[in-house]
């Protein structure tokens, strides 16, 4: 029997489109740490100390292959001066948009990272996770793409109207967001993040057409990712991307987070050897999965996308819902060990 790889080696081997000892599994647990530490979500999500403690403990318990530094996505809009609303049993929402009308784009300024305690807390989380994991486990940082952040900055409908009706202000907003995004991603890499999840749901074909993507989201991604000094994986947060896989590849990203709404085999066929896949377990269904169903879903994902490496098993949204029981989390890893050891066709 070959020696077991570290999570870091396993993940890097998979990302280089080779087969490691088994399929890496990223349990993207942002909120479960609050349950583990028995505290309210707001208290948990706003403290690097709590997140570090829980991330390390959850990895000890379940043996997955990453440490996830994301607390909540709306942290970026908070840094822009926006409102964040916390809940007891789900991820925080961005509240009243920071941009109330398109004219306000002209006076918008990107945040200074060193002056925003909420961002500094994220950097502390990454630093702590990196130090405590001895470089053996990938630490995943997260940025919202400059193209998708406006959904939180100005509301979804306001943003779609801007995108289609006011190109000048749209591109001004992209410029401001891009400067911040590049800076924010690089600061996370400097703090110790192994890679950056570039969350870009608006670029998915669920939200905009491929033509629109090529005119907007793709250009923004190319300009942004070329300045990020480390590996990135683009995540569409449950949105579809099969029709734009080749275009996404041109943005310089290393992999894509894919949706359960699309055929994983077709995605694998299109991306094999060129772009790694991250996904695509259905987090919304997970709370009612039994052991057999969990086993089957993990096995099918691995069989559809695991051969030849280039695959990391994960949920399809980039965040496992708070309501998913610990038993399901544990069954996912049980199934990964059962079905994910290479070679898969033994």
């Amino acid at each position: 029997m070959s020696e077991e790889m570290s999570s870091m080696d396993r993940t890097l081997t998979a990302l280089s489109h080779k087969e490691p000892d088994r399929v890496p599994a990223f349990l993207l647990l942002t909120m479960h740490g609050a349950k583990l530490l028995d505290m309210p979500l707001e208290k948990y999500l706003t403290s690097s100390e709590h997140i570090i403690k829980a991330q390390l403990r959850m990895r000890e318990l379940y043996g997955h292959d990453c440490l996830y530094a994301l607390g909540y996505g709306a942290v970026e809009v908070k840094a822009f001066g926006g409102e964040v609303i916390f809940f007891e049993d789900g991820p925080p929402n961005s509240g009243r948009p920071v941009i109330q009308n398109p004219e306000e784009v002209e006076s918008l300024e990107g945040p200074d990272i060193d002056s925003e305690s909420c961002l500094l807390e994220v950097l502390s989380t990454i630093k702590g996770l990196k130090e405590r994991s001895n470089g053996e486990v990938p630490v995943v940082g997260v940025v919202m793409s400059p193209f998708s952040l406006p959904v939180m900055q100005m509301g979804f409908s306001g943003y779609l109207d801007l995108m289609h009706q006011d190109q000048d202000r749209f591109w001004s907003l992209m410029e401001i967001n891009q400067r911040f995004c590049v800076d924010w991603a690089n600061r996370q890499l400097e703090a110790g993040a192994t890679a950056i999840g570039y969350f870009d749901p608006v670029s998915s074909s669920t939200i905009i057409t491929r033509e629109m993507y090529l005119e907007t989201g793709s250009k923004v991604a190319k300009a942004t990712l070329s300045q990020v000094k480390g590996p990135t994986v683009t995540h569409f947060a449950s949105g579809r991307c099969l029709s734009i896989v080749d275009d996404v590849m041109d943005t310089g990203t290393l992999g894509i987070g894919v949706s359960v709404l699309e055929d994983l085999s077709a995605l694998k066929k299109k991306s094999a050897g060129r772009l790694s896949l991250l996904g695509n377990l259905n987090g919304i269904e997970m709370p009612r999965w039994g052991r057999l169903e969990t086993d089957r879903n993990v096995m099918m994902a691995i069989l559809r996308a695991g051969r030849g490496g280039g695959f990391i098993l994960s949920d399809n949204h980039g965040e496992i819902p708070y309501q998913v029981p610990w038993t399901v989390v544990s069954w996912i890893m049980e199934a990964v060990h059962k079905h994910g050891e290479y070679p898969l066709d033994r």
Binding site: G90, N93, S157, I207, P321, Q323
Partner: protein, 213 residues
């Protein structure tokens, strides 16, 4: 029939291309041959339904659905102002987004229904007690609830309980991402109907309009 089919094809193409002048021109042309309400029922509604199905299947994007439904709503408002006596006879309908701060889905459903000639009270964002109270006050018969976050979808169950406690039981239709990703969730939270896309609300509205006649 062939003429209606041709109008529908042209309207669909104009909506998908987000070409408002063409949308207006086509609807004005249709208007010359039928009443605004017939235009809403026989041309606009089926086209919005086609576009909605296209979104479900992945061939149409959400931005096209959103902008297309807004264009149709504006056009129908021009031809048939809100609360006009010729708007449909229908059950009392209302729509709300439950607890979430993202309301795009609710806005699209609202536009689609209004473009289909229906009058719908828009409660915007509400929490469980306030929505149940509004539905009771207004004697709502069909309540459409949009959610984006999973936690909000689960709150529909509490909404149903709150309404039962308030001795009301409107038809409860739910929609939004959580219900697309879990096909059993709508039943689990006590809804009567679920829509996989915004245009499904047209089918529900039609169904209960016929029942209430």
């Amino acid at each position: 029939m062939t003429e209606i089919s041709a109008w529908m094809d042209r309207l669909e193409a104009a909506l998908i291309s987000i070409d408002e002048p063409s949308v207006n021109a086509i609807i004005d042309e249709v208007q010359a041959s039928m009443t605004p309400l017939d235009c809403a029922e026989n041309v606009i509604s089926p086209v919005l339904r086609r576009i909605g199905v296209g979104w479900q299947e992945g061939s149409v994007s959400l931005s096209q659905v959103y902008l297309g439904s807004k264009m149709c709503e504006r056009t129908l408002d021009r031809l048939l102002p809100a609360a006009h006596q010729n708007r449909r006879s229908q059950p009392k309908m209302a729509i709300a987004v439950l607890e979430d701060y993202h309301n795009l889905g609710q806005k699209i459903v609202w536009s689609v229904l209004r473009a289909g000639g229906y009058e719908v009270t828009n409660y915007e964002r509400q929490d469980v007690p306030s929505l149940a109270a509004l539905a009771k006050r207004d004697e709502v018969e069909v309540l459409l609830v949009s959610t984006l976050m999973y936690r909000s979808a689960l709150r529909v169950k509490d909404l149903r309980k709150e309404m039962i406690n308030g001795s009301i039981s409107p038809i409860l239709m739910v929609g939004g991402a959580p219900f697309i990703f879990d096909r059993e969730l709508w039943r689990a939270v006590g809804a009567n109907e679920v829509g996989d896309d915004a245009s499904a609300a047209l089918l529900i509205a039609k169904k209960y309009s016929e029942v209430s006649k």
